[in-house]
């Protein structure tokens, strides 16, 4: 039992990390209904460009974070205007194929440009342990948790409290009515996609400073993010947090008390259970799209 506090702490930290890396997908898959298989690659690009700006441009961590955010917002905007736009309103399959293709392109483009080696993003602070009684964490992890929570709250407020947020909600509920009401839906789609990309990339850079950035990390991130979004409920930020924490704690307990080797199975077991007993997810707002 004396291991329990540390397992719980590990699970909660991982849970916030999962919620953070799934945020972008909550927007793009949850709200826009684009089944975005390139999500993990946007995350990966965040880590790799974070490595580039801190190692090659010599920026400190936080300035680097801002540059990466601006760069990835532009990438997201362009991807939506030039690629996603072309398959909008044609059902889900074209979008799935498009984003699978995009993810293959992004991985191999990155391999070509920077190679397959793992890259280190210089962290914001030192990496030594901090002890709270029997629990060990690091400053960097606490910082990532804090930034993660700030981003989640920020994104939630943006959607709920701003004009842009209102326009987004209107557009995704009924694009035709929204455009009749004078909302420039094309811009709203692009802005949402850009925001989703930026969130994915920010979490990628933040977590790359704790782990490492590498061209091939995207696949696992995509899978776990889909798990989090489905657990929490489509398009719900509270759901993303709950889904992330649930996944993090479940993995930590399973890994701790049963076996590490099969830990990645847990997420999918949870998804199967949720789909059987509460298919709308833990927190979904029960509205169907027009």
């Amino acid at each position: 039992m004396d291991l329990f506090p540390q397992f719980l702490a590990n699970g909660l930290v991982m849970g916030v990390f999962y919620a953070l890396s799934a945020l972008g997908l909550t927007l793009i898959f949850g709200l826009m209904r684009v089944v975005n298989f390139a999500h993990g690659e946007f995350y990966m690009l965040g880590g790799v460009s974070g490595w580039f700006v801190t190692n090659h441009l010599g920026l400190d961590f936080f300035s680097g974070l801002i540059v990466v955010a601006a760069f990835m917002a532009a990438v997201g905007w362009l991807v939506d205007r030039f690629l996603i736009e072309r398959v909008r309103g044609q059902g889900e399959e074209p979008g799935i194929l498009l984003t699978i293709g995009l993810s293959i392109f992004l991985v191999n483009g990155t391999l070509l440009l920077v190679g397959p080696a793992p890259m280190k993003v210089a962290g914001a602070m030192a990496e030594g342990p901090l002890f709270f009684g029997p629990i060990a964490v690091t400053k960097l992890r606490l910082l990532a948790v804090a930034v993660g929570i700030a981003l989640i709250v920020g994104a939630h407020l943006l959607i709920r409290r701003t004009r842009l947020g209102a326009a987004m909600r209107a557009t995704f509920q009924d694009p035709m009515a929204a455009s009749l009401a004078g909302i420039r839906t094309g811009h709203v789609y692009a802005a949402t996609f850009a925001l989703g990309c930026t969130l994915a990339a920010l979490s990628g850079m933040l977590l790359a400073s704790i782990y490492s950035a590498q061209a091939s990390v995207g696949g696992l991130i995509s899978l776990k993010s889909f798990v989090v979004v489905i657990l929490g409920g489509m398009g719900s930020f509270a759901g993303a947090i709950a889904g992330g924490l649930l996944l993090g704690v479940a993995e930590a307990m399973w890994g701790g008390y049963v076996s590490m080797g099969m830990v990645d199975v847990i997420g999918f077991v949870l998804v199967i259970l949720i789909l059987l007993f509460r298919p709308q997810g833990l927190f979904s707002i029960r509205t169907e799209r027009a």
Binding site: F7, N10, F17, Y211, S212, S216, A252, D264
Partner: protein, 378 residues
């Protein structure tokens, strides 16, 4: 479907009836993972291989011709590696094959090499059973985990004063093999096992595993992991505030590993078949050339590529022609002076005689603390 089969037969027939056109180079085919999760290590093998070919060509090549290295991506998967070999044999008409990286991929291309009667050398794949399949065309210029464990178990147990050890390995053939071999040899020396755990490739967070490790209170932890997983794991061992001794197998004594791991790498031990700090004139010359060309010191896989290509090139030169049978016969008589000792092959094609080293990482450099020749397996 029948048309496809017929077409295939026709093509094979045509290919067989056209006499191999006189080539002005001697072609060697190399299959390595250039994309996928171990692409990074595969690339090091290719770098070492290119350096070996450059060396041999600068010295006049073999059989009076230049050597041409043709590299194909096998992605570490059996299917893609087999495709790569078919292409190298059918289209490029290589005279010898080198590859593939992962043991499962190598196991898949071994029967293909045998079908075409072409010698196949691997410088990496370490699964013990590969050389036990009675494939006369297969040669392994690499250590196996069993050989490493046998060579170093005693030194480790004595030098690190181990009494209770935890074992952590990546969840595949290689990781499980490494953990099993080392735990068997260490247990035989009276070292107790307190924890055995496996993690999946690409895992990033080890805090849960390390919590269990902390509770088990070992005085040493054995790790079988490659560069990326291993560096993150070692970093997190220190982040958890654990000061247990760390030792392991994998590509640890490399500049990249040390760079990624940072200060946390200080004082860890690694049993490796090659380290850039090995103190022989031949190795110093190799390190200098490698560093001049790639700007980084060679690691285990760079050396593996370099050695495998040199072994292939010298065998072809000794064979006096590109006849596969002659090359195979001369491979069996290999006595190649590598940067890390002399490579010879047993009847089953397993290399022995080269030096393996135990290194400790001190001030960001792998320092050799023990060295022992790898004996032929009994």
């Amino acid at each position: 479907m029948r048309n496809v089969v017929l077409g295939g037969l026709l093509l094979t027939g045509v290919a067989a009836s056209v006499p191999a056109q006189a080539q002005d180079t001697v072609r060697i085919g190399l299959v390595q993972p250039l994309t996928g999760s171990v692409a990074y290590n595969g690339k090091s093998v290719v770098e070492g291989a290119r350096l070996a070919v450059e060396d041999m060509n600068a010295a006049g090549g073999v059989l009076g011709k230049k050597i041409e290295l043709i590299v194909e991506d096998g992605q570490c998967t059996p299917a893609n590696s087999v495709n790569a070999v078919e292409k190298l044999v059918q289209k490029d008409k290589v005279v010898t094959l080198v590859g593939a990286f992962c043991s499962s991929a190598t196991a898949a291309i071994m029967p293909v090499a045998q079908k075409y009667k072409l010698p196949l050398i691997t410088g990496v794949s370490s699964k013990a059973s590969l050389t036990e399949q009675g494939n006369p065309y297969f040669f392994r210029a690499a250590e196996t985990d069993a050989l490493m464990a046998e060579a170093f178990a005693k030194i480790l147990a004595n030098d690190l004063k181990l009494t209770k050890v935890a074992y952590i390995g990546v969840n595949d053939d290689w990781g499980r093999g490494g953990v099993e071999e080392f735990s068997r040899d260490l247990t035989a020396l009276g070292v107790k096992t307190v924890l055995t755990e496996y993690f999946d490739h690409g895992a990033t967070d080890f805090f849960t595993l390390l919590t269990k490790l902390r509770a088990a209170k070992p005085d040493g932890v054995f790790v079988a992991a490659e560069t990326q997983d291993g560096s993150i794991l070692v970093k997190q061992i220190r982040e958890m505030g654990l000061d247990t001794k760390v030792f392991g197998v994998g590509s640890w004594a490399t500049a990249d590993f040390i760079n990624l791991t940072g200060e946390a790498a200080e004082g860890i031990h690694a049993a490796v078949p090659y380290a850039s700090s090995m103190d022989t004139p031949r190795n110093q010359a190799f390190v200098q050339k490698y560093q001049a060309k790639y700007g980084i010191k060679p690691g285990k896989y760079g050396a593996a590529g370099y050695n495998a290509l040199n072994i292939a090139g010298q065998a072809i030169a000794r064979a006096g022609g590109t006849d596969a049978e002659a090359i195979r016969a001369s491979l069996a008589k290999t006595s190649y002076e590598a940067p890390n000792g002399v490579y010879k092959f047993t009847d089953k094609g397993q290399a022995y005689g080269f030096e393996a080293v135990l290194v400790r990482i001190e001030k960001g450099e792998p320092k050799v603390i023990a060295s022992t020749p790898v004996d032929a397996p009994h």
